[in-house]
């Protein structure tokens, strides 16, 4: 735009040079100095006119006018620092909230995954028709994985374990607790990650019972192995067995597992591979298409037992497998939440703009006489409008600049709130796309809040404006009331949404847990270790370590359980032995525990007994069930003394205990509450099936729990010593109490509540400010009128009521509108509410109460100024 811009000085110099050349030429022809100058000027013509033409031909005029307007605008903004600060802060908050949330949207939904050609990466979804219609991401079993690997030539496929497992790594003399992931050969090829050292697993190493090898994450290589390049070929003890290190991942590499150390999956069709326990990912080979891959996959998987048996049991129903881009699959669960947040942020921006529209409107009207004067002095309406728009733009840009700052801080706070690996992306940042979004948002806001004042001031009437001091028409007050009503309505929707989430969280957190969580300290350790594949060694560890912990002063009792309340439990199949459901196989949560478990957690015994040391490996197999199990599967008819068949053994039910809260693993079971009471059976740790032990421990890390009287100093160190006294190479993964466990289970809910509450509060604050500004400006405008009324006998109270009414009525309309909108819109929240309905009377009451309170505050405060109005003064001013 400014290319070839030339300064007028430069042009003047050129003209001067021209005249000099001409004079020189004429002097050479024999003219004297004076005549030469005159002749040169004559030849040139009108110098001033040429200079003017130069000036006007350039962009200098409009540029100058623009700068003039900008400087004038800045002066006007400086003259009203209160307005400017308020406007910039309002915009900054609105734009900041949007910037922060958009950077999430950007990172999760817009940006590519941090892999080469992410569009060629996918994972498997399955569409089922019929009674159990579903369309969701699917894992595969061992057989399906082999079919996928060998019979889908369009793809490089890989599978990984579901999530990571806690394991112990012993390198040299140091033992540490780590998160290990198991991945098939080619897993890192699919992700297109180049190892910085070493190589990927070979096909041989990925075969069942193949050589045991490990690939290190960059962080582990740096910390535990001091970035030693000779680490390749070194042996480490992982899960008690020697593994050879064959590679190191690059720095900052993200995988679908984000483990500390990776071992080969060595998938088979048995054991783990008997169920759909493998997460597939695939990369399209060069030249292949997804259509080809889908067709090949369906052909291959149609031969798998799982699909065949489904077809046999569900005639007429169909299962279709298809690939979905990894990006979409990874963000599927978060997408609606993030978009809801973006919508909330949009509401806040609208509220901010409505506020500003009201404020600028008043400002413009106060400047009517200035504008009228400018028009009278010959400014064109376009020039006046341009001036106003430039002021709006300046405000918006200032607000945008503050917004970027606020957005940056908000984003940092937001990310600090999220647990590690909560998001499937490595980092969320304010990149150029976010900044471009913010800039366009800024421009949009200037239009949004500038439009209304611009329309109103277009109608400024010259004569009446110059004559009268105030020209606030009743119409503009009504306009501002409408704006306030709109703001309040949006605020109601946001607060109602936040209120419903808060009520859900409170409901979940205050559900009776079924045990006494106070005074319990827990610690996990990994028994995924060859040493503990032997049941005798396992029993010895439990007995000795628990005995040592009971010795700690202040410890009342100590016990061990595979999982604890608030956690997700192992699911196992149990066959019912008697009653009308005899022979039916059901699945239930199963927890192995030591005898002190129920006592330590204070889980009430309802009937029969719990376990004792006598329930050993050679004694009659026994089981304790919870009330839900008794109700659901034994119909609560004399459960004690009946038998269940667990892993081909007849097991005697010896007791019934109360239900406890369990995590339903909501990320796996869409639509279920994150905490539920489910049917559970407890088996003695001493009677666990020896073949089952290694498998169970590869998925779960058991918890040692102690109940203490009050706080015990150094309890964690003493617990660690208690464990070390039995096995010096067994570290705890960390210590926590039951509140931590509950918090971890309710992470998603807590984050949602925190974010939405923050946004709703912001909306409330902005609405209150808007309301306050409306009433305050009416007070100022009507000072004269109030003075006259009071002189004629009106009381202060009446005057306050009369003025305040405009704010209150606007707000009431807004509350009503908001409730109507919320009753429709918030129905989409049904899936995330537990324990309450969308039409929760308490939430509605709280919303109305909050808004009425804020409305009264925001209207009464500015009307207090009326008390100071002295009728005598106002009349004298007249």
């Amino acid at each position: 735009m400014f290319r070839g811009r030339r300064k007028p000085d430069d042009f003047t110099a050129e003209v001067e040079a021209h005249l000099q050349f001409e004079m020189e030429r004429l002097r050479e022809q024999g003219m004297n100095e004076e005549d030469a100058r005159a002749a040169a000027c004559r030849n040139f013509g009108n110098v001033t006119q040429v200079r003017e033409r130069f000036y006007e031909s350039g962009r200098w005029v409009s540029w100058d006018h623009f700068w003039q307007d900008v400087r004038y605008g800045l002066r006007m903004l400086k003259k009203t620092p209160g307005f400017t600060a308020m406007a910039v802060l309002t915009l900054g908050l609105g734009i900041g909230a949007n910037t922060a949330i958009f950077s999430l949207v950007n990172a999760l939904l817009l940006k590519d995954l941090p892999y080469a050609h992410p569009e060629r990466m996918g994972t498997i979804y399955m569409r089922t028709t019929g009674a159990e219609a579903a369309d969701e991401q699917r894992n595969v079993d061992g057989e399906q994985w082999q079919l996928l690997r060998d019979e889908v030539p369009s793809l490089v496929s890989a599978v990984s374990s579901m999530g990571t497992n806690g394991v112990n790594l012993q390198a040299g003399s140091r033992v540490q607790y780590l998160h290990a992931g198991r991945v098939s050969a080619h897993y890192f090829d699919v992700l297109a990650l180049q190892l910085i050292l070493g190589r990927n697993y070979s096909a041989d190493e990925d075969r069942p019972h193949g050589p045991k090898t490990a690939i290190l994450s960059y962080a582990l290589w740096r910390t535990t192995f001091s970035a030693n390049r000779n680490v390749l070929g070194q042996a480490v003890l992982l899960k008690g067995e020697p593994y050879t290190i064959i590679g190191v991942l690059p720095e900052g590499a993200t995988t679908t597992l984000n483990a500390d150390i990776y071992t080969a999956l060595q998938a088979s069709r048995e054991g783990e591979g008997g169920g759909t326990n493998f997460e597939p990912i695939a990369r399209l080979r060069d030249g292949a298409t997804w259509q080809q891959a889908d067709a090949e996959m369906n052909r291959a998987l149609a031969r798998s037992l799982r699909v065949l048996s489904f077809a046999k049991n569900n005639p007429g129903e169909q299962r279709t497998y298809y690939f979905v881009p990894l990006q979409k699959a990874e963000t599927d669960a978060l997408r609606p939440r993030v978009l809801a947040l973006m919508l909330a942020a949009g509401f806040i921006l609208l509220i901010a703009c409505a506020n500003l529209a009201g404020l600028t409107l008043v400002r413009m009207l106060r400047r009517t006489s200035e504008l009228a004067t400018r028009l009278a002095l010959g400014a064109s309406p376009w020039q006046v409008q341009r001036q106003l728009w430039i002021e709006n733009l300046l405000l918006a840009l200032l607000g945008g600049a503050v917004g970027v700052e606020i957005g940056f801080l908000a984003l940092r706070g937001l990310l600090a709130l999220l647990p590690q690996h909560f998001l499937p992306v490595a980092k969320v940042s304010l990149d150029s796309r976010v900044l471009a979004f913010t800039l366009s948002l800024t421009l949009l806001t200037s239009v949004l809040f500038g439009m209304l004042p611009a329309l109103v001031t277009r109608k400024v009437d010259l004569r009446s404006s110059i004559a009268s001091r105030t020209v606030i028409a009743a119409g503009t007050v009504r306009l501002r009331q409408a704006l306030i009503a709109g703001e309040v309505a949006l605020t109601v929707v946001l607060i109602a949404a936040a209120g419903l989430l808060i009520r859900t969280l409170i409901h979940l957190e205050t559900m009776p847990p079924g045990f006494n969580p106070n005074g319990v300290i827990a610690a996990k350790a990994s028994l995924d270790n060859v040493r503990y594949h032997d049941p005798a060694a396992f029993r010895k560890l439990l007995d000795e370590s628990l005995a040592a912990m009971r010795e700690i002063p202040g410890v009342q009792s100590a016990a061990l359980g595979l999982t604890l309340p608030y956690e997700r439990a192992l699911i196992n199949g149990v066959i019912l032995r008697d009653g009308k459901d005899a022979g039916q196989e059901i699945s239930t949560n199963e927890v192995y525990v030591t005898p002190g478990y129920f006592d330590t957690l204070r889980i009430p015994v309802v009937e029969g007994r719990t376990f004792t040391q006598a329930d050993g490996p050679d004694a009659q197999p026994v089981v304790v069930i919870n009330q839900s199990f008794a109700r659901k599967f034994l119909h609560a008819v004399d459960p004690v003394g009946r038998f269940l068949k667990i892993e081909n053994k007849d097991v005697l039910v010896v007791g019934v205990v109360g239900d406890t809260m369990l995590s339903s693993a909501a990320e796996l079971n869409a639509g279920s509450a994150p905490l539920t009471k489910e049917e559970t059976i407890y088996v003695p740790a001493a009677q666990i099936n020896p073949h089952f032990l290694p498998l169970v421990h590869s998925f779960f890390q058991p918890s040692w729990i102690v109940r203490t009287t009050g706080s015990v100093e150094g309890i964690t160190a003493q617990m660690q010593r208690g464990l070390e006294s039995t096995d010096p190479n067994l570290p705890f993964s960390g210590f926590y109490d039951m509140k931590d466990l509950m918090a971890a289970t309710l992470t998603t809910q807590r984050i949602e509540v925190a974010l939405l509450t923050a946004m709703a509060s912001l909306a409330l604050l902005l609405s209150a400010v808007g309301l306050f500004a409306l009433v305050a400006s009416i007070v100022v405008q009507k000072t004269r009128e109030i003075g006259i009324r009071m002189a004629l006998g009106s009381t202060v109270g009446e005057a306050m009521l009369q003025i305040g009414r405009s704010g209150v009525s606007a707000s009431l309309v807004g509350i009503f509108l908001g409730l109507v909108v919320a009753s429709g819109a918030l129905r989409v929240m049904r899936g995330v509410l537990y324990g309450i309905g969308v039409y929760d009377p308490l939430t509605v009451a709280m919303v109305v109460f909050t808004l009425v309170l804020v409305t009264l505050l925001a209207t009464i405060l500015p009307t207090l100024k009326i008390v100071k109005i002295d009728p005598a003064n106002t009349l004298r001013e007249e």
Binding site: A13, H18, G45, V47
Partner: protein
């Protein structure tokens, strides 16, 4: 002078190399044997216009008599434009000459 004629003359003048404003004015006057009297001032809006169209470019330099001057030179676009405009002008001139010639013979 006809609209566009001055532009054409300026471009033509620059074909032999860079010149400053006064040089261009003199050249036009001299080559037209003082037939075309250009008011020197009128040259500058035209130069400005041509520079904006990027037909000519300008640079401050030192003249033969050691004076600072703004030198204009033909750009590649300008050169092409000159050829085009010259052809057009010649055609126009011929057409006008033909019309005038026939009018003279008729009268």
């Amino acid at each position: 002078m006809l609209q566009g004629t001055l532009d054409l003359l300026i471009l033509r003048t620059l074909i032999f190399g860079a010149r400053h404003g006064q040089g261009i004015a003199r050249a036009i006057q001299e080559t037209s044997e003082e037939e075309l009297l250009v008011e020197h001032g009128a040259l500058y809006p035209a130069l400005q216009r041509l520079e904006e169209r990027a037909w000519i470019s300008a640079k401050w330099g030192i003249s033969s008599n050691n004076r600072k001057a703004r030198f204009y030179s033909l750009t590649a676009v300008g050169r092409k434009q000159l050829v085009k405009e010259t052809t057009k002008w010649n055609r126009l001139a011929k057409a006008i000459a033909r019309i005038l010639g026939s009018a003279a013979s008729e009268g």
